[in-house]
Symmetry: D2
Subunit: 138 residues, 4 copies
């Protein structure tokens, strides 16, 4: 994957870093990026109607990330989201983070949510309001 | 400890919450508050000259927290800091977090940093620029 | 608080450390100790009947910790638990961690759970099987 | 990727889960799996001579994971490691976790470490003792 500009994403949000994000090597640990990605995607879903205590929930079935540049606490970050593929009950996002003020992303990920029924954990169609909101990011 | 107003603190900063902050009970896990506290205190130190790769570092020797109200992702938070006691090589902070827009803190903590030499881990005097900055918060 | 022997606690369990437990100072971050404490206390509760998806849940209303010695990944740890005070709907634990093979604890904490109704978040009596199990740790 | 047996990996280690590993959906959060993966790979490196405070360090440049089954605290886990590709200064691992007692992995990841000089962050050859140890996992 190429290293895109953060400005090429239709949805962005500010993220603050934390002391514990830095690992022993003095930069944000690779694991923490995935915490950012989860936060960015779910924020968009919640802003558009996802009820995290409701019946239809999105479970991550696959994710991946390419790391282009280091980040470090206490730098503030920009998180960014777009939709790569929207299926009946699944959605694959492209998610990125950049240091605030940097034009290029520091890391680029894809992550796939499958929407399931909370109780049975069987796939269910993506609820209509979320589908509309996700379509706006394609 | 009484539940103070967030506005009574001399230093405040914005914190963003994360998906993983919420535990199985649907609110920010008690452990995560301590991650906020560490982030708030070190942010102030770094803004006033602490070099986290330098020779004099602050280690936490004691901390405590009283939890007054729940917080939940994706709510943005306000973190707040003041200095309760400033010694030769140690400083005890009062640190609080509140939901953005809420007048009262959700949790109030104290945390004690002892400054030590990075290599020997023996106490050293708090460096002068940091001491001045900390005095401004008493 | 004095630094007790890990062998003085009635309940112990093994904990494995993680890469990300170490912060930029090369030892386990103070916040992570609280993650250990939560894990130790809830493990004992779950082993004695707590249903984390059930109606009666334990919320942390206060915690504190004194740090006596450093820990570092990849060292395995011993977690330890006893009950300091058992009330009608609340319990205060003493919780400790030690490096495996070390006689003295590296950190000693107290943590107070208030049992509440999951829906109303009002205090409820500690369920009988848990009360019996907690009494065994006093 | 197919879902392999945990027994097909040449290196395994026990991992304990934590209260905060479970997210609001009651199972281990997808992010936490990556914390396991980091822990497993670095444990093997440290056991074979990696000095995390030394000059040659391994940075993650890419990772991915496929999630086959849920895990939940307080279940103990087995972590597993093999080497997919060993280059001059980079190594790509296959890493898996399984619930203890389950024959099939719950998640399968690949992760690529590039070894760099700590100061310059330029790629360096994998140190010989580590190379030998990694070759044993191919």
């Amino acid at each position: 994957m190429d290293r895109p500009a953060i400005a090429s994403f239709p949805f962005t949000t500010t993220l603050t870093t934390r002391w514990a994000d830095n690992d022993v090597y003095g930069h944000v640990n690779n694991v923490t990026y995935y915490a950012y990605f989860d936060t960015i995607a779910n924020l968009y879903l919640i802003q558009h109607g996802l009820d995290i205590h409701g019946e239809s929930i999105g479970l991550v079935v696959a994710s991946q990330c390419q790391f282009f540049a280091s980040l470090a606490y206490p730098d503030p970050l920009v998180g960014a989201l777009r939709v790569e593929k929207l299926g009946r009950s699944s959605v694959t996002y492209q998610i990125a983070v950049a240091r605030e003020g940097e034009p290029l992303v520091a890391a680029l990920a894809t992550m796939t949510h499958v929407f399931v029924d909370r109780a049975t954990r069987r796939p269910t169609p993506i609820p209509d309001p979320l589908r509309t909101a996700l379509q706006a990011l394609t």
